[in-house]
């Protein structure tokens, strides 16, 4: 297992956001967390990547415990989190944004290669390299956020709602690209509201509800599951 989460509790003050969440991500797969608003999907990602401290439980990444390791220290170990709302640096150019993706790396040759690969994946970004990132459209910003994350050469990519607020064709494109990224060997843990798309690209899925995992299994199986269909797939 590349990532395993055991029995995670997270509290925001007195409010318990996660209770006993356990999940596993096998290397080379796409695993998705689906669930409604406030189910704890984003919180789970944030607890894994060290942006918040869990009150209980353990997170293991690549055989080593990373519970409460701060986010910045995980990037060089190969775990990169693309936060919700993209988090692009609006007043910096697209090019500078990409450079920041490689902040923890010092292998110039490898960085240049990965940069080229990211720009091949998102040709739109190449046209806009010198433009301020804040002037990009929502879809382009999402492309930049993912492309930038790829420059850290992650082994595990945590994506938080990459389809949020995007036009349907763009959603399609982003999911195609997520699959492509996974095809080159990057493991992906994907949080999505768009359960249909997420289950279509993922290998495994976990369903979260009010801070607990209520269902898990191969994505294809959950796509056919009557409860999941009813609750998240609109019939």
């Amino acid at each position: 297992m590349l990532l395993s989460v055991h029995d995670l509790d997270v509290h925001y003050g007195a409010i318990q956001a996660l209770s006993g969440v356990s999940l596993e991500v096998e290397a080379g797969q796409i695993v998705t967390l689906i669930g409604g608003n406030g189910a704890g999907k984003t919180t789970t990602l944030r607890a894994i990547s060290g942006m918040i401290r869990p009150t209980r439980g353990r997170v293991m990444f690549d055989g080593r415990e990373i519970t409460s390791t701060p986010a910045h220290a995980l990037v060089s170990r190969g775990l990169c989190h693309v936060p919700e709302g993209r988090g692009i640096f609006a007043n910096l150019s697209v090019s500078e944004n990409l450079d920041l993706g490689a902040y923890c790396r010092h292998d110039r040759l490898g960085i240049a290669e990965d940069r080229e690969r990211a720009l091949e994946l998102f040709p739109r970004l190449r046209e806009r390299l010198k433009q301020n990132a804040g002037t990009l459209s929502g879809g382009e910003q999402q492309m930049l956020a993912i492309g930038r994350a790829l420059l850290s050469r992650p082994r595990l990519l945590l994506l938080d709602e990459p389809s949020l607020g995007l036009a349907p064709q763009l959603v399609q494109l982003i999911f195609t690209i997520i699959r492509e990224i996974n095809g080159t060997g990057t493991t992906v843990l994907l949080v999505e509201q768009n359960a249909h798309m997420a289950l279509a690209v993922a290998h495994r899925a976990y369903v979260l509800q009010t801070g607990r995992v209520v269902k898990s299994g191969p994505a294809r199986q959950l796509l056919e599951d009557p409860d999941v269909k009813k609750a998240y797939l609109g019939g």
């Binding site: 220290a73 990037v75 936060p83 007043n91 920041l100 010198k130 433009q131 850290s152």
Partner: protein
């Protein structure tokens, strides 16, 4: 490193390094050249003009250094004068009592003592940076307005503490009576009546050399991966963290760099001819002057802060001319009004995040700073 790689690599299209622009080493070279002209001219521009240029240069150092914190990392420090005061008092204590002990006097120094300013500035800078570390470490862990509150408080506390210091000693006999420890705890820097007769080591050449040094440092920083990480913090702390930037450490470093150069500026200020170093120099009034310059320059623009320091300093001096018309009481209202007008018409400051040389390049950064 091959040619092909250089083209592939990100260095070539990084902002500010495009072909056809003014190379960024030009600005500090101009300043250094200017410093040597100042030195050679022996201040033939006249006492008043050279005094104005000294003050302006010192404010340029203060404004550019504060840009590293308020501009690059987007934190809001309003206690910069306190770090200047620490640099000034520490270095002033050293040169004053050092020369009093060795020479028996601190005035009428020959040119052979001029070099003393360099170690004084370095020690003053280091003392201020140390204070910056103490203040920054607890307050920069937190997001939001804490830093503003803490730095404001720090300046005021320092001001009050300086008022409680011991009276100054004026002869080597007095010095030997109190002993070294007596000179240090509490420091004999004159309390509320001020610290006088600090050796007059500051001259235009030193000031503009230091201006060159801080500008060079800030430019190198801004376009390094370090500086880009600082700008990333300003843009979005969570995203910077998720890129692997150690946000707290980077903020503390920026804060210490800024405090170091504030200490240098304070050293220059303390060793200026005709300065009485007073506790009020650490207070908020002076800090706000520096903040005004940084905001007016565009919060993040080095050339903007430099220019704003010149504009504000000259404006202050220029309005003194009102005295000739018996309108001195209108000086501050007019100054305030001009600042308000500038902020209405250029809310992003003179240059925004951009630098003066960005305006000579093709305008492809359509966002144009903020």
């Amino acid at each position: 490193m091959g040619e092909g790689l250089e083209q592939l690599s990100h260095v070539s299209d990084r902002a500010g390094v495009g072909a056809g622009m003014i190379p960024r080493w030009v600005a500090p070279c101009v300043v250094v050249a200017f410093a040597f002209v100042m030195y050679a001219s022996g201040g033939f521009v006249g006492d008043y003009a050279s005094r104005v240029m000294l003050d302006t240069g010192i404010m340029m150092i203060a404004a550019v250094s504060l840009t590293i914190v308020n501009g690059f990392t987007g934190q809001f420090s309003i206690g910069h004068a306190a770090f200047m005061a620490i640099g000034g008092y520490v270095s002033g204590w050293l040169t004053y009592y050092g020369l009093l002990a060795t020479l028996g006097r601190t005035t009428d120094l020959g040119a052979e003592h001029g070099w003393l300013l360099l170690p004084a500035a370095i020690i003053g800078g280091l003392a201020a940076a140390g204070a910056g570390w103490l203040v920054g470490l607890p307050s920069l862990r937190l997001r939001g307005d804490y830093l503003a509150i803490v730095t404001l408080g720090f300046g005021e506390i320092l001001r009050v503490l300086l008022q409680q210091t011991d009276r100054q000693r004026f002869s080597s006999q007095e010095m030997s009576e109190v002993g070294l420890l007596g000179l240090i705890v509490p420091p004999d820097v004159g309390g509320a009546s001020g610290f006088e007769s600090i050796p007059k080591l500051t001259n235009l050449a030193w000031v503009y050399l230091m201006v060159g040094a801080v500008i060079l440092f800030a430019i190198r920083l801004k376009y390094s991966s370090y500086g880009r990480a600082m700008l990333a913090i300003r843009e979005d702390e969570i995203a910077a963290e998720s890129m692997g930037v150690n946000v707290t450490r980077m903020k503390v470093r920026a804060f210490m760099f800024a405090a170091f150069f504030a200490g240098v500026a304070g050293t220059l200020y303390a060793h200026q001819p005709g300065t009485l170093l007073r506790p009020a120099d650490a207070g908020y009034a002076r800090s706000f002057d520096i903040v005004i310059m940084v905001v007016m320059g565009g919060l993040g623009s080095i050339s903007g802060a430099t220019l704003a320091a010149i504009v504000v300093s000259l404006l202050n001096v220029g309005l003194l001319e009102l005295a000739d018309y018996g309108a001195m009481k209108w000086r501050m209202p007019i100054f305030a009004l001009l600042l308000i007008l500038i902020m209405i018409f250029r809310p992003q400051g003179l240059f925004g995040l951009r630098e003066i040389w960005d305006f000579f390049r093709s305008r492809d950064r359509t966002g144009g700073g903020r």
